[in-house]
Amino acid sequence: MNNQPRIHFLWGVVPVLTMLLLWETTARLQLIPGGIFFPPFTTVMAEVGDMLFCGVLIPNFMSSLGRVLVGFISGSVFGIGIGILMGWNERVHRWFSPIIGLLYPIPALGWLPVLMLWIGVNEMLPIAIIFICSFFPVLYNTLTGVRQVKPELINAARILGASDLFILKKVVLPLALPNIFTGLKLEAGMAWKVVVASEMVAIPTGIGSLMMRAESLVRLDIILVCLMILSMMCLLFERFFAFLEFKTTGKWR
């Protein structure tokens, strides 16, 4: 029993190591023509050190991270808030649902040209895009979570003497948490994808713009560093919410 988690971990690591090894050997032995476009893994890792040393990586990473955090947190807070209101109150639902139904299908990046004209090319632009990208899915997941709380449980709470606010706080919200987390897990990764895209198109700082500049200098190692950071951040954010979900709902589900 004690070995179980270790074996599990190994099974996750071995394929990744194999892939890295394959990458390294094919690049080193120049099995693929045009070696300059395919640097080996160790070269990429060495570039991470260089970039950290000359102070390129941290500021760009931090500005992307800041945008993701502000945009994602504000989008989620509003999404959860309006989702709860819509799930709880039929009148609010009737008002908002057609509007949101029309806005939701527009891809977040589709807003980019509009927002560039409305708010200009500045810090607010990627934040606004991430806000839009997180807001709708989190809202829909919250709404579903609130609406699927069994009416019988709400009746049970009412007959036990609970006020509406108490029921919302102690019954509806905790029971909607699994759905809310589904939305958060999905959108935390999505926020990173969107921030990079918007930085590539419009903003002169951040991981996305770093990649665009590396492209013009044909620095594939830098591009690969950026992609690896992106992959790690998406994974980290998703795992963070999975962990939070387990902490809050793991015991009773």
Binding site: K150, L153, L175
Partner: protein, 363 residues
């Protein structure tokens, strides 16, 4: 504890329903599926909109929301909060009232002991059995000291043994606490076992209300009689004591062995499902075996009702369609009738006491 009066209750199911539930009694609401039993319960709880008036001790509560009616409700599907432990579930109603933490913890401890679920206190509902869940639900319901207890088929999803045990415990708790209780069921044996009085509800109206023996022996309509198994009722002229709680009752032209407690018997009821048929006299000693002639056969899938003339009396037997196809009984065939003791109910002459004879294990 309060008297509950329903006057002219009208909504999508109830049609001008009148009902009085006395202080401290357990009233069973019985009826077929869709008759309006649960709806009536929801009217008392305030879950369903209605016309007319509900009064607790003469005070109308129609404008009060469910949370202010001080009513306890036990649901068929338990309705425990899955994200709360047993302790937190029981404490819910007390926390909702904003009581002091110390008071809450005292009351919860008290209930864990009263309902005998102390060992479950930190478990989550997902890890409880059906019987344990309903015990927790009962503790949670009783925690805020309700004066009225509403029960919507609370034990129907449990196995028979657990259900029976919980019914007995519930009944004694209800009497001990003096709660006014309304118990919904479609199980006729449960109705007889639990009810101080029975109200038969049909199409949103109260068809008949009375003590169980009154409903069984004097059903006002055939619908009421059918609901309780359409028993054969025989008027008895005298009873001679035999031994160990048995007596031989003379009922018209029949002489039947019945449960006997030393008091004069007025009527007996024999449930058709407890009347067995055979073509030949079986040579084992068995009381209550008589010869008769089939006079009518009524097919009501999945059962067949066979009327047998025994002396001057007519006895209805209920057999399964399958059995009927196998034995091919036709009208005017001679048959032997055997009535098992446990399917006989007795009404005493002084009908003030409602003696509860042995209950059937199966419905």
């Amino acid at each position: 504890m309060p008297v509950i009066s329903l006057s002219s209750i009208t909504n999508h199911i109830c049609q001008d329903t009148q009902l009085q539930i006395y202080d401290g009694e357990l009233l069973v609401l019985a009826g077929a599926t869709g008759a309006g039993k649960t709806t009536l319960l929801n009217v008392i709880a305030g879950f369903t909109p209605y016309g007319g008036s509900v009064q607790f001790n003469g005070t109308a509560v129609d404008l009060l929301p469910p949370s202010k009616r001080n009513v306890g409700y036990l649901f068929q599907a338990f309705a425990l909060f899955p994200h709360l432990t047993v302790t937190e579930n029981i404490a819910f109603g007390l926390e909702a009232r904003g009581l002091d933490k110390k008071v809450i913890s005292q009351r919860v401890t008290q209930l864990l002991a009263l309902i005998k679920i102390g060992h479950l206190h930190n478990r989550y509902p997902k890890s409880l059995s059906g019987g344990e869940k309903q015990r927790v639900a009962l503790a949670r319901t009783l925690a805020p000291h309700p004066e009225i207890l509403l029960l919507d088929e609370p034990f129907s999803s449990l196995d028979q043994r657990t259900a029976k045990l919980l019914r007995l415990e519930l009944k004694s708790l209800q009497q001990k606490l003096g709660l006014t209780a309304v118990y919904v069921t479609h199980n006729r044996m449960e109705a007889f076992e639990m009810g101080d009085r029975l109200a038969v509800i049909r199409d949103g109206r109260i068809e008949q209300i009375g003590i169980p023996s009154e409903i069984l022996f004097n059903p006002l309509t055939s619908a009421v009689s059918d609901l309780f198994g359409a028993p054969n009722i025989f008027k008895c002229s005298r009873i001679e004591p035999l031994d160990f709680g048995l007596g031989r009752a003379k009922c018209g032209s029949l002489a039947l062995i019945v449960p006997y407690c030393g008091k004069a018997v007025d009527k007996i009821a024999v449930f058709p499902s407890g009347v067995r048929l055979s073509r030949h006299p079986i040579d084992t000693p068995m009381p209550n075996r008589m010869q008769g002639i089939v006079v009518d056969v009524r097919i009501k899938t999945p059962v067949v009702l066979v009327d047998i003339q025994v002396n001057d009396e007519r006895i209805t037997a209920e057999i399964s369609s399958q059995l009927w196809e196998e034995i091919h009984i036709n009208i005017s065939d001679p048959v032997y009738v055997t009535i098992s003791l446990k399917w006989i109910r007795v009404l005493l002459k002084c009908s003030c006491v409602d003696i509860k004879p042995i209950f059937m294990v199966n419905d």
